[in-house]
Structure formats: structure tokens, C-alpha cells
């Protein structure tokens, strides 16, 4: 639960031999300047989150070697990659629209990397087949990309990037090209694959939900700078900018679903509109929470918890209240409403959320 907004110093001694990623990326492009520091240990999944034009994709391209660094450094498992061309970096990339080679089959797309990195034809294809099998795509090995669904194409792209055994996996808006229905399923699958990946993964997204579900750590980038970084729940509780408050503010819980109810690991159950079973996430935005001084009667909300105000933060004419108690959550309300409720740290409140405003999905 630590947060750090101060970029790491460029050439810290003693870190060069550390495994994982240690980078300071500086890219000047006319009026725009990207300057961010990123460190991650093997096994970490870091999400670069930010609005369009914040410099996320530039950072990703710089990590891949597709955009040269103006200054800074880039070390991966102790090796300096600053001047290494992209084809020689142990970096796998899943592009936003996948960029699967349309003239090659799924198998040959995945075998392309191993082949370029010195494997024989048969060996490369065997490895590719293995990866497709792991992605549940063994039956689509001979298909051309245009005959694959969005979710299948995404998995082929992931297999293609992983087939070169990268020490750094980069994903650019991995779910943006998918429709809402496919997105849920692909996100759950991707989460499992990322959890199993033993090296560093960095993903870029503008969707806070994707970031929170997929990543262990969020790095929020605005105007080429890191404005906040830390664990997803931590950032949701303590947004440091208006943008984060509006976009990242999300109550997110893990639990076990059984029909329209998700029993949270944290304690209480939450009613949802989705019908699920097994491990699941439940999320709802702070704006969906209604607060009451007294237990509401006749309220249709079935998700009702007794809480206490732990803290209050003002953002413009909005106040974010941090609550503890039966369930820890964040709630947004207007300053007027806060005054009427006489909210102050330690004050007891009832928090209610309509099932229709929650969002449950498989973990």
C-alpha cells in the first residue's frame, strides 16, 4: 500500500544487476515530452493508465525500441537495451489491433518469432503449436487471421508475443478492439495468462477496469508525466487528480459467485444483475453509492452496509468519502449532500448500491 509519485532517479547505482525492468524513458517530440520512470520485478504486471495523448503508447514504443529515447536508460534483467534495435530485444509486443500477418496462418504467425530468432522450421512450428494449444486454439492453427474472431485473434497475438520467451511483455490496449461481450471472457483469460507469466508485463490502457483487473500496479500518466502510481485499490481510494478521481475511482472486490449473488472474500455478499458461478469480481463506481444517516426503510437496494466515515477528500464540488465497516468502499457525493448528512470522520452511515449499478464478471 505504498504510493510513489516521484520518478526514480536516472542512474541509481546498485540497481543495474537487479532482475526485472528499470527504465527512465525520455522522448521529446516537438511540444510533447514524455518523461517517466518505470521499475518492475519479474512477475509484476504494470498498467500504464491515462487519457488519450498522455504518452502511454509512446512509452510502450520506447520500451519496444520502435521509438528512440531522447534520454534516460532502459535496463532489463541488468542488460542495457537503450541502443539495442527492436529485433534484438527480448521484448514481446501485443499490438492494439494485433497486427497479425494476414497472409500467414495462425500457426505461422506464432512461429514467425522463433523462426526469426534462429529456430528451425519444424522446431518453430512445434513451439507455435504448443502455444496455440495453451491458448485453447489448437483447432485454429491453420486459420488465416481474417477468419478468426476478435477474441481468438487476441489470443494468437498473445501467443505470438509469448512464443519468443520475452523478458518483457508489452500489451497496447489489449482489449480495446473487442466488443463488450467478448471483452469479459478475454479479460478473464488474459488475466490468467498474465498471472502465469514469470517476467515483467507492461500494459497500456485507458480503461480503469481493465487496468485494475489485469495489473498488480497502476502507473497513471498525464501529459507525459507520472501523476500517481500504486496498487489499484489504493489509487481508487486516494485519487490524487481529478482525472484519477473520475476514471480510476472504482470499488472493486473479489469473491465467489453463485447465481445473482457474489460472496466477497472481504465478508458480505453483493447482489448483481449478472448470473455467474465461480470466482468473480464485482465493481461499482463511487458515484453509484447512496449514503443515509439512518437505515433506510422501503429502499429497493438490497446491497446495504453499515459503515463509518474514515476520511473525506474534496475534488471540485465533489467529495469522496472513504468508508470502513462491513465493507470498505469509496462513495462520491456533492458538498451539499455531505453537509446535509453531517459527514465527518468517524460518523456512522448506511451505504446502499443498486444491483443494476454493480458489475460482476468472472475472475
Amino acid at each position: 500500500m505504498t504510493e510513489s509519485t516521484v520518478p526514480h532517479d536516472a542512474g541509481q547505482p546498485g540497481r543495474t544487476a537487479a532482475p526485472g525492468l528499470d527504465a527512465r524513458l525520455v522522448v521529446d517530440r516537438g511540444a510533447f515530452r514524455l518523461d517517466i520512470a518505470l521499475t518492475a520485478a519479474p512477475g509484476d504486471v504494470v498498467a500504464l493508465l491515462g487519457p488519450n495523448g498522455a504518452g502511454k503508447t509512446t512509452a510502450l514504443r520506447a520500451l519496444a525500441g520502435l521509438t528512440p529515447l531522447t534520454a534516460g536508460h532502459l535496463r532489463l534483467d541488468g542488460a542495457e537495451l537503450h541502443r539495442t534495435p527492436p529485433e534484438a530485444r527480448p521484448v514481446g509486443v501485443v499490438f492494439q489491433d494485433y497486427l497479425l500477418f494476414p497472409h500467414l496462418t495462425a500457426l505461422d504467425n506464432v512461429a514467425f518469432g522463433p523462426r526469426c530468432r534462429g529456430a528451425g522450421k519444424a522446431e518453430a512450428r512445434a513451439r507455435a503449436a504448443e502455444w496455440l494449444d495453451r491458448m485453447g486454439l489448437a483447432g485454429h492453427a491453420g486459420a488465416r487471421p481474417r477468419h478468426l474472431s476478435g477474441g481468438q485473434a487476441q489470443r494468437v497475438a498473445l501467443a505470438r508475443a509469448l512464443a519468443i520467451d520475452p523478458r518483457l511483455l508489452l500489451l497496447d490496449e489489449p482489449l480495446a478492439a473487442l466488443d463488450a461481450r467478448t471483452r469479459l471472457e478475454v479479460r478473464a483469460r488474459l488475466r490468467r495468462h498474465l498471472a502465469a507469466f514469470e517476467a515483467v508485463a507492461v500494459l497500456v490502457t485507458h480503461d480503469p477496469l481493465d487496468a485494475m483487473v489485469l495489473a498488480d500496479r497502476l502507473v497513471v500518466v498525464e501529459h507525459g508525466r507520472i501523476v500517481q502510481e500504486g496498487a489499484p485499490t489504493d489509487i481508487a481510494r486516494h485519487p490524487r487528480t481529478e482525472y484519477i478521481a473520475q476514471l480510476v475511482g472504482l470499488n472493486l472486490y473479489r469473491g465467489h459467485a453463485d447465481g445473482h449473488t457474489v460472496r466477497l472474500d472481504a465478508g458480505p455478499a453483493v447482489s448483481t444483475t449478472e448470473d455467474l458461478s465461480g470466482p468473480a469480481f464485482v465493481a461499482f463506481p463511487p458515484g453509484a453509492v447512496t449514503l443515509y444517516r439512518d437505515r433506510p426503510t422501503g429502499s429497493s437496494a438490497r446491497n446495504l452496509w453499515r459503515c463509518r466515515v474514515a476520511g473525506l477528500e474534496t475534488h471540485g464540488d465533489q467529495i469522496r468519502a472513504e468508508l470502513t465497516g462491513e465493507l470498505s468502499l469509496a462513495a462520491d457525493l456533492t458538498t451539499v449532500a455531505a453537509a446535509e448528512l453531517d459527514l465527518h470522520p468517524g460518523a456512522p452511515v448506511w451505504a446502499a448500491v443498486k444491483a443494476a449499478q454493480t458489475h460482476a464478471y468472472p475472475a
Binding site: 527492436p86 529485433e87 521484448v91 509486443v93 497486427l99 497472409h103 514467425f112 526469426c116 508475443a161
Partner: protein
Amino acid sequence: MTSGPAAPRTARPRPPGRGVPLALLAPALLGLAFLLVPLLALLVRAPWRSLPEQLTSPEVWQALRLSLFCATAATALSLVVGVPLAWLLARTEFRGRGLVRALVTLPLVLPPVVGGVALLLALGRNGVVGQYLDAWFGISLPFTTAGVVLAETFVAMPFLVISVEGTLRAADPRFEEAAATLGASRFTAFRRVTLPLIAPGVAAGAVLAWARALGEFGATITFAGNFPGRTQTMPLAVYLALQNDPAAAIALSLVLLAVSVAVLAGLRDRWMRTA
């Protein structure tokens, strides 16, 4: 015109008010007529009665064979050097690229006869480069079939380069980046990713170049001369026949036309449709 069980018995009605506007149709038809009427005139005035006799002469087939061989060889040569040149122009940044592109297209505006003279000055027995080819390797290009291929390549390659460069510019360069992240060198990315992606454009450029090479006259006769079986291609045979036997010239032209139409239509169906 019906499409499916629910289609009405009458022909499918056209959406209202979506006819071809006259302002486009009239000039389009005029343009078509302008292109077709001269060809029709050839057919109308063709010496049909003596045609079988004209066409059984061995010289005709000799010239046709040579034409097809040389045009194909010139296209192949254009591909080997023209596609990389197009890549250079489309995918790299260097000073004077605009000038280089203009120079590449110069043979398009140069009268072919001037092109032939320029080739003589460059590759002739006493040419700037040719004198060394002759002195060191004993290679003399004028008056040879190789000379015909070179002359045709000189005139036809710009068509290929321009066509391929346009296709390359339209192709997504990020596929090359994706290949790079997978470990492909720029050459491997070009060979295994870019080239297959732009194949339809390369094919279209090759067809253009082939057609241009097949009809080449000025540069060929100036650089390679005119000798039956060695450098006399169909256009040369046609031109010389025109001097005193217009009927034979028309017959030869018909053969050239028929062969080109057959080849171009065949290629179009096979290659262009996949584009």
C-alpha cells in the same frame, strides 16, 4: 437478379434516384469510345482475306516469341531492382529523396528514342560504362537481345517503381514494426511480411511494366537495333512493315493486340482480384 427466397418476382428495384449522372456518363462513354474506336478501325481495315497467309510467316512468330521473351525478362529485371528501389523511396528518409523520385520517373517523360541514345552513351561500346564492360569482360550490349531487355527495362521500370511505391505507402508500416519486435531484421521483415502484403500492388506494377515493355519501340530500335530473331520485336516489325506493306503491319498489330489482351485479361483475373 433475385437474391433469396424473399425476393420479389420482378427484378430487384433500384433505389430511387441513384442512376449514373449524365455529367459522368457522357464523358466516360466519350473516353471509352476514344480508346476503342482506333482499335476497332484496325479490326475493320484488317486484311482478313490475306491474314492466314500473313500469320503463317515464320518471321511473325519469331518476332512475337522475341517480344514475349524480352518483355518478360525486362519485367523480371524491373522486379529484381525496382521493388527494392520502391522500398527505399517509400520507407527510408534521406536527403534528396524527392529529387531521386523525380529522376526515377524521368524515363516516363523522356522520348524513348532519347532514352535509347542515352543508353548507347552509357552502355554502348564506347559508352561511359560500356567501354569498361567491353574492355574488361568483352561484353557489348548494343545489337543484342540483352540490349533489347535493357532498353525495355529502362522504359518500363518506372511504371513498376511508381506502382509499388504507392502500394508501399498505403501499406501499414506497423506490420514491419510487429515483425521487428518478433526478431526480424529489416530485410527479413521486408521479405516475409511486406512483400507478401504488397504482392497485389507488385503484380499490378509488373503487369503495367510488362505491357509497356511489350509495346516498346523507340528505345529498343535505337539501342539494340533491328535484326530479325535477335532484336526485332513485334513493334519494330510492325513499324518496318508499315513502310511499304500496311496490310502486313495491321496483321502484325492484331497479333500483338490479341496476345496482350489475352495475357492481361488472364493476369487480371488471377492476380488483381485477390487484391
